[in-house]
Amino acid sequence: MNITLLTSEIAIICLSLLIIILDLLLPRFETRRSLGYLAAAGVAGVFAYTCTQYGVSATVYQGLFTLDSFALFFKQIFLLAILLTLLFSFDYVEGLAKYQGEFYALLLLAVAGMMIMASANDLLTVFIGTELMTVTFYILVGYQFNSSKSSEAGMKYMILGSVSSAVLLYGVSWVYGCTGSIVFEQIAKHANTSLGMLFGFGLIVAGLFFKMALIPFHMWAPEIYEGAPTPITAMLSMGSKVAGLAVLLRMVFIAFVPMQAYWGGIVSIIAAITMIGGTVIAMWQTNIKRMMAYSSITQAGYMIVGLLSADASGIKSVLFYAMLYMFANVGVFATIIAVKKHHGSNEIKDFSGLAQQSPLLAVVMTVSLLSMAGIPPMAGFAGKLYVFSTVIEKGYLWLGLLGFVMSMISVYYYLNVTKVIYMNEPCVQKEFIVSQPLRIAALISLLATLWIGIYPGPLAELANTAARSLSIL
């Protein structure tokens, strides 16, 4: 048994516990910013360590937990997401009334849950990872003690999330009953297409689709995104979604291979409704976080399109898209936090005149939004190209065309925000303060988005290696 495979998870959990202890030792009225820096430094260290692990392919605890390039790729997405989120949320956390230290600790625990999900090779580990992530998110969504919206969002997320977990678990119990095992490779050996098995598989997929907020399992997303503290909204849209995707990919391509015959029709329809619904409803939003909720629903729709081509190139396109989606999200949410600090609200009209007040953030916001829309020089274009070209090769021409049309329509509401940023005059005349860490996070997201867009080769190569490590197994 090789416990070193778990090093990165153990490190993150120890870091989180260390932060809780240090939080108790610090004087009560001292700022908790130092703990935030500690968390960011620790995460950066773990990220550097994961870079050295590529090429490993081994399992631990009788096949319950696996580490391969596929899991590593997702872990790096989560670690980068949390690192950049920490960078742009120091100021936000300082504005919290109470429990600033625990905020960092809980955020790290949620990331540990996501990392476990990426490595999970059996249904029990999937369940534990998912619950570690979502239960921590229930707490974090309701973390803003001076806002009744936040407690409302936390309560709603808790109820809907627990119901979806229960549905997922009921499916797990049926799959266990039909195959006699919970390890993915064993399930694949005993998999049949009996009614109980299909029922269980359907419930598991419904539970995961809920985590990814695909239409018709999306109803929680807009309200929870609006009510949650903004760094948590960012982590929900980057982490929860991508972690659900990681589990879904590994489960479908290793455990439920015989189910793929039933898979194509359902997934193509859900992807189509998600793309159409997310795009159309996003147009009517006036609150930027709500708009981002619908935008992230649409993006999840694009991502599961890649699942339809059941081979390495399809998985590669999904991995590639997940990474650039994360970078674009960082840019958008960093800007939202800066504007919220300036204006105290999250309406799209608050962005008026941002170009004059902070040219850097205006550029970051524009580039990130255009990347999500898929305009050529940005990374989103390369990502959409990969996703839709693989799916068109598999004969889903209509879905490719639909995705193309929806991307074009989504340019409307993304450009709407850009128009407000550049055309309108600033409505409040006071100094616009952008803190240094936030500036760094925004700059990293800007450079990454442009670099991946202009020169996608290295990331595509990395995603390819990761995708192959999954299909070899």
């Binding site: 369940f127 239960v135 678990l169 119990s173 266990y176």
Partner: protein
């Protein structure tokens, strides 16, 4: 003789009662109880499958212990959030939580 089907039927009925409770009840405490019913249905399923399919391997029973633990933590968080909601809204009625609308 009680067979596997009996256990599965009881579990299915419990699960459906839970879903019904979540969908129709408006008191948050009742909703939390309904969620517990759904999770307990899963436990019955897991233990019954474990006992009847492979009595010598305890996978399902171990899984159910994990489920019970996680369900307990979930309810702990749920009740803590309920305190906050009661503090902010003076009610535990889910319909009154409507400060955000599409």
């Amino acid at each position: 003789m009680i067979s596997l089907v009996h256990y599965l039927t009881v579990a299915a009925i419990l699960f459906i009662i839970g879903v019904y409770g979540v969908l129709t009840k408006r008191n948050i405490v009742t909703i939390l109880m309904s969620i517990e019913l759904m999770l307990n249905a899963v436990n019955i399923n897991l233990v019954a499958f474990s006992r009847f399919i492979q009595p010598e391997v305890l996978t399902g029973q171990v899984f159910s212990i994990f489920t019970i633990t996680v369900a307990a933590s979930e309810v702990a968080v749920g009740l803590a959030l309920l305190f906050r909601v009661y503090h902010d809204y003076d009610t535990v009625h889910i319909d009154k939580l409507n400060r955000m609308r599409w």
